[in-house]
Amino acid sequence: MDILRNLASFLADSVRLVLRGNRAYRIWVAFLLILMAAGGLAYANQLRHGLIATHMRDQVSWGFYIGNFTFLVGVAAAAIMLVIPAYVYDWEPIKEITILGEMLAIAALVMCLGFVMVDIGRPDRFWHIMPLVGRLNWPQSMLAWDVLVLNAYLLLNWFVVTYLLYCAYTGKHYIKKLVLPLVLLSIPMAVSIHTVTAYLYNGLAARPFWNSAILAPKFLASAFCSGPAILLILLQILRKTTPLRIKDEAIFKVAELMAYTMGFNLFLTAAEAFKEFYSNTEHVVFSQYLYFGLKGHTTLVPYAWASVACGLAAFLLFLIPKTRTNWVTLNLGCLLIYSSVYIEKGMGLIIPGLTPDALGEIYEYRPSTTEIFVAAGIFATGFLVFTLMLKAAVPIMLGQHTMSRGSLPSGEAGDPIP
């Protein structure tokens, strides 16, 4: 009964923490809510008319939604990047930001599920894909696998975060025998969600652009650049706006790891380009469409090269210690990496996979206004989830807000998370 009472008080206090905030916080939340409303209206329109409100068609049957989904799976997987050094090597400065990484994973997964939901033609039949209730075509379908691992990963991260915060709130030390195996489990889980998502495309012999063994390793390499890029910027914002102490050292260490993963990602891109263009089989058309355009269709070309250029520039910025430890160039590098991977893992992966189509037709896909608004709504939802989680988590994590004491006056740090 104690546990139930504590949980109820934990929940109530979390809600209380979320509901109050300064002006900047309220403006930010209002802004996200407006974006969500706009997305909701656009989605209502899509529900009424069908997916014809998008610019997807039989030729390019997946587009902006699935591109964003793929990118965000990578962001979710990247939480592992911070978990490995923190728990395996017991590296102290990174430990406190691990919980933030896991919350980022939760927010990213919420967006992933949102993008899948808006992409399906019959959301009313969603229960068909639920294990036990529906009829999951497992283990044949890679999509069935993806449903399982994404939800398992979401549950795992949600549980670890909630449990750690609950312990901090009640002032008890968490049970290491419970948390450590779960955190260790989240490492292969993070690898698996991105691998399975890569296999989703990889397993389709019909689409030579995806049917390449390099796809899964490349997914992981790029995810381990883009996820931390988002996190590094978030950490700096948090340092400024909350009493959370994050050491420079931790940030620079993550940046160094990103230099290696970006270098590897660029190497894999080059390896793939070499294979396609040197052997020059009929399957080269997809890479041609992406990098040079095909029969006068060049929509993707500027994006493809922008992605390569941003990746290269960011790699150099993060490789050189001087630019890595300079805040201006560090943040520039983060933005460059984010842009590079967003293009590469989003539209740069999905669209050339389907263009030209299975019968050689070129349909030039560009997202419709509906798609852009719906996507903005989902991103806003993810940001809101993340903001609210942070709002409640930071004071609890810092020991500023506990069950016995309530809230300390702001600015005064209590005992940090044990």
């Binding site: 399906i120 009829r135 012999a205």
Partner: protein, 315 residues
């Protein structure tokens, strides 16, 4: 809901479908599904048929009685929609039959009569337009090279100088990548080799479309519009019955005709006799004659989809 499964639907694919082969799993799912659906149905407060639609289980899990109920409901819904009687059949695969198709590339003139006969027979949406057969115009000098394919040729007269024509539709693969891809088992290969879709179970994720190497699967991007005067009222549950918005559809070798011993509409209409159809298990069939005496090829055979649809050069 009951545990009894339709005996004729258990055979061809149940073994390779992973889940749902055992009766207890079926009843548990049925129970949970019913519970979930009942709550949802009550919440949205929709009519009886709509609740039933929502509750509908995968075709392969339905008992005979449930199939009958489903058909009666569909016929009611079509009557309300079109103001006309629509017959929805569910003829099972004929014993000892696997359908095969062969297309003579040297005879096809690219007139697209097959395309339109197919649309008429199979109740495809007229707006937005859906066509199950795509005719490729190819260069004689290049052979079957998709980089030189054009689906939108529109000369005053066909065939055009220097070109030949290759109609492509569902190849009814023995190893269909679409069936493997579907996350909910809404599409499967029947005993007679026809790959069908359960339009009431498909969630519209379009993974099968990404998986199909032949562009044979088509999606109802918008509400399908079928003028009542164009409606073909003689339909099959897994074939040409009018489809709802947001689901995938494809060629079924005119399942509503061929399971009653008739030819597919495209075979019947072809003015050059390029299209051959028959029972692969019958040594005296025309399709077997073609396989025996002509040299056939399978489209994209390197993908090992093993189509029951063959192309050949007859002359």
């Amino acid at each position: 809901m009951t545990e009894t499964r339709d005996p004729r639907s258990t055979g061809s694919t149940a073994g390779c479908e992973g889940c749902g082969a055992d009766g207890s799993g079926t009843s548990r799912r049925a129970f949970l599904g019913t519970a979930v659906a009942a709550v949802a149905g009550a919440l949205v407060g929709c009519g009886n048929d709509h609740v039933e639609d929502f509750l509908q289980h995968n075709f392969r899990e339905l008992s005979k009685a449930e199939v009958e109920e489903m058909i009666a409901r569909l016929e009611r819904e079509y009557k309300a929609q079109f103001g006309r009687e629509v017959h929805v059949g569910h003829e099972p695969p004929l014993p000892g039959v696997i359908f095969g198709y062969a297309l003579d590339l040297s005879r096809c003139i690219g007139c697209r009569r097959c395309v339109h006969a197919c649309v008429q027979e199979n109740n495809q949406s007229r707006d937005p337009q859906i066509q199950w057969i795509r005719v490729l115009q190819l260069d004689k000098e290049e052979g079957v090279d998709l980089r030189h394919a054009d689906q939108y040729y529109d000369p005053p007269e066909v065939p055009e100088e220097g070109h030949f024509y290759m109609p492509v539709q569902c190849q009814q693969c023995k190893k269909p990548p679409c069936v493997k891809a579907c996350p909910v088992g809404a599409t499967w290969r029947e005993k007679d080799g026809i790959v069908v879709v359960d339009y009431n179970w498909c969630i519209g994720c379009r993974y099968c479309m990404a998986a199909c190497p032949y562009g044979a699967r088509h999606f109802n991007w918008g509400e399908p519009h079928l003028p009542v005067e164009d409606l073909n009222p003689d339909t099959h549950l897994l074939g040409n019955r009018p489809r709802p918005k947001g689901v995938v559809e494809k060629c079924t070798f005119c399942i509503q005709r061929t399971r009653k011993g008739r030819y597919p509409a495209c075979v019947e209409i072809c003015p050059t006799g390029s299209r051959k159809f028959g029972n692969l298990l019958d040594p005296k069939s025309e399709i077997r004659y073609v396989l025996e005496n002509k040299r056939v090829f399978k489209f994209k055979e390197d993908l090992n989809t093993q189509p029951n649809f063959f192309y050949f050069y007859g002359v």
